[in-house]
Amino acid sequence: MEPVTLTRKFEKVCEILDRYGRDPGKLIPILQAVQDEYRYLPEEVMAFVATSLDLPPARVYGVATFYAHFALEPKGRYVIRICDGTACHVKQSIPILEAIRKRLGLDEKRHTTPDMLFTVETVSCLGACGLAPVIVINDDVHGQMTPQSAVALIDELTTKEAAK
């Protein structure tokens, strides 16, 4: 199985590399496209990108670790981002984060549930301050949250997944 998936993996990467003309200056959009495809940046893919662009792998790894958007580990199906910008913070975003973590059995060090369903992270501002406090689940913004309503959202998703 393994070699087959790997070939498929690199086919997609080649497609992305070609789309950006294999230009080393386009490294960030390339990595963004790769991450859209795999939901994270697998190490072997980064090495492949580096070789294809004629860059040292350290340079690619350096860029991948510098920017917050790049993930080096796979994320869950639902990425829950709790906004901790100033407006959300003064409107008590931390109790929401704590409540969600508690419900999912996660903490500051463990961000993803073992069943790969949920990843919990914080983000410094989503620009939806008028709705503070805000959480985003994948691409859906939920405003004026409370710890109770946030946990209710998670429970809803858990039930939905269990029914599948």
Partner: protein, 631 residues
């Protein structure tokens, strides 16, 4: 090659078609309103109108417009908290918090009979007055909208509508009737200063780039709005993306650039989409590309999505990011004007600055000088958030006071639960992690670049976070320090290590370990970090701490010397106890306590053992008699 677009013709054709529908319904589709379900309301409205056998159009096409109801989307109005917002023309009725369930009534009462629905219009919480028209609402009435004038009114995805409001006329003028030098001069004379925080004269920056002899030059729009609590640029990019593109075209004309980048924060997916679409549309009309307006000049525009690094708001770091590198700042000089993107002369301007430029070219430098103060001309957008009744995006002339913004536009200070708190004002945090605090003594200070500097704050990008008296200022300072510590790129030792140490010292204060020496070290470090850092991030990182030390010394002292948080927000410094006079001995608290720290007999006052208590506050939540103190 596309022929030179006939702007007048496009504008007339659009206005003629736009006059044909009997009504226009505009649904705000900014990030905030979409989160509240605006797209569902949009869909439901179209379906309901069609079901009622009324002609409905979602896009303006002349042949179908006659007698129809035109349902369109707009960008952000700025009044996000009251969203989804629905405007109905020609009556100019504004509905707030519209739900799918309200759609049937809107169609029946307003669209068919032209009557407003009382329960959907905004009711002023102080006077109780119902405001049928958006312009009656105090939040809007006291603003002066120039850059945001079209935001929330025009369809950002329809370039024809922007053109029908005079859009791209200024670019045409700059390319056909003005010399490059004249463009830079006009902007310089207007007194326009960079809205991204620096406050440098835009025209001067352009002139410095224009005089470079290198033939290849770039224009970059900095839309990497990373300040937490700020969303001015997001709203402009979402609500009127063409104004930003036009500003960039004029900048390109002024400095002689033929290529540009719009760098947008990845956290703003809607803004990225709208800008990308706007660039495509402008290209189709021949407003971007070669031989613009028959001048023989070219300008191409790319959109780049950021990847989540606050430091990329710094211009040299942003350039590194576009080049595909780690976004680390470079020492200046050389300035980007001399050697920027790919080593070529580059102008980097903020979104709001660029959106102001077409207005200057169209109305003249004197127009901008007529607004604002002598040293800070024009208007400024602020994101008003926090403990304030009306949160949202506002635009006011420079020189407006904090009092006007918080109490008149913002409608006053609120408690955590959102109710008004007339004497609850404590501070306004301005300028995000680089800024400072303004307190009651600054309520009448005019907001402009220079007067803010005198009190140790800065305009920054324009985030205004109002804080009520329940907010612990030491925690706020710690919040910003944690932010900058996290976002420090690691290049300068003092920024990388200094912010970490400052954060640890603030933790000591909050957790009750601090001594007098902590404060001395904190102050010394604050000065050192500011001096020993290369870019704006490090240079201004100590500002929130310095502002707290300056204006809230007694609050810090209470934490350090009395081990007491005056607001009771710092968990480690709380002592929770039970008021024996109020306690009925119901045992509710003892049963809820996760660590069994509460002892007592039934129907007799209970006691908390401070040695066991973890200060979680569960007891207070369980108590029906308000007997738990200190939470």
């Amino acid at each position: 090659m596309t022929a030179t677009p006939d702007l007048k013709h496009i504008a007339t054709a659009f206005s003629t078609a736009a006059a044909k529908p009997v009504r226009r319904v505009i649904i705000c589709a900014g990030t905030g309103c979409v989160a509240n379900g605006a797209l569902k309301v949009h869909q439901a409205l179209i379906e309901k109108i069609a079901a009622e056998k009324l002609p409905v159009i979602a896009e303006l096409r002349e042949e179908k417009a006659e007698g129809s109801v035109w349902v369109s989307k707009s960008g952000c109005h700025g009044f996000c908290q009251m969203g989804p917002l629905v405007t109905i023309l020609p009556e100019n009725i504004l509905y707030t918090r519209v739900k799918v369930g309200d759609v049937a009534e809107i169609v029946e009462t307003t669209l068919k009979q032209g009557k407003p629905i009382d329960r959907l219009v905004y009711a002023d919480p102080t006077s109780g007055a119902h405001c049928v028209h958006g312009t009656d609402i105090p939040f809007y009435k006291r603003q002066q909208r120039t850059v945001l004038k079209e935001c929330g009114h025009i369809d950002p995805d329809d370039i024809r509508e922007y053109i029908s409001h005079g859009g791209y006329e200024a670019a045409e003028k700059a390319f056909t009737k003005m010399s490059a030098k004249a463009v830079c001069e006009e902007v310089e004379v207007s007194g326009l200063r960079g809205r991204g925080g620096g406050g440098f004269l835009t025209g001067k920056k352009w002139e410095l780039t224009r005089i470079q002899t290198e033939p290849k030059k770039y224009v970059i729009c900095n839309g990497d709005e990373g300040d937490p609590g700020a969303f001015m640029d997001r709203s402009v990019m979402e609500g009127n993306p063409h104004s930003v593109i036009e500003g960039m075209m004029i900048a390109a004309r002024g400095i002689g650039a033929d290529e540009g980048y719009v760098y947008v924060r990845a956290e703003y997916p809607l803004a990225v989409r709208r800008i990308r679409y706007a660039v495509e549309e402008a290209g189709k009309l021949g407003l971007l590309g070669d031989n613009l307006f028959g001048s023989g000049l070219s300008f191409r525009l790319h959109v780049m999505e950021g990847a989540g690094a606050f430091v990329c708001g710094e211009e040299t770091a942003l350039i590194a990011s576009i080049e595909g590198k780690r976004g680390m700042p470079m020492p200046k000089p050389p300035f980007p004007a001399q050697s920027g993107l790919n080593g070529k002369p580059t102008v980097i301007n903020n979104v709001e600055t660029l959106a102001t430029v077409p207005l200057i070219i169209r109305n003249g430098a004197a127009w901008l000088r007529g607004i604002g103060t002598k040293g800070s001309t024009g208007t400024k957008n602020f994101a008003l958030t926090g403990h304030v009744a009306n949160t949202g995006l506002i635009e006011v002339p420079f020189g407006t006071t904090i009092r006007e913004i918080v109490f008149n536009i913002g409608g006053g200070v609120t408690r955590d639960n959102g109710t008004l708190w007339p004497d609850g004002f404590k501070a306004v945090q301005i300028g995000g992690p680089s800024g400072g605090c303004l307190t009651t003594e600054h309520l009448d200070l005019p907001l402009d670049f220079d007067s803010l500097k005198t009190v140790g704050a800065m305009v920054g990008s324009g985030g205004l976070v109002v804080m009520n008296r329940d907010t612990c200022m030491v925690s706020v300072a710690r919040f910003f320090m944690q932010f900058t510590q996290n976002e420090s790129c690691g290049k300068c030792v003092l920024c990388r290590e200094g912010t970490r140490q400052m954060l640890a010292l603030l933790d000591d204060i909050i957790e009750g370990r601090a001594t007098a020496e902590t404060l001395v070290t904190l102050e010394t470090l604050a000065v050192a970090v500011g001096k020993g850092s290369l870019c704006g991030l490090g240079k201004t990182a100590p500002n929130p701490v310095l502002a707290t030390l300056r204006y809230f010394r007694s609050e810090i002292d209470a934490h350090v010397f009395q081990k007491r948080c005056p607001t009771g927000r710092c968990k480690a410094l709380r002592t929770i106890s039970i008021d024996a006079a109020k306690c009925k001995g119901c045992t509710a608290c003892a049963r809820k306590c996760p660590v069994h720290a509460i002892k007592g007999e039934v129907k007799k006052p209970h006691v908390i053992d401070p040695a066991v208590c973890i200060k979680c506050g569960a007891c207070a939540a369980a108590c029906k008699f308000d007997a738990v103190m200190g939470v």
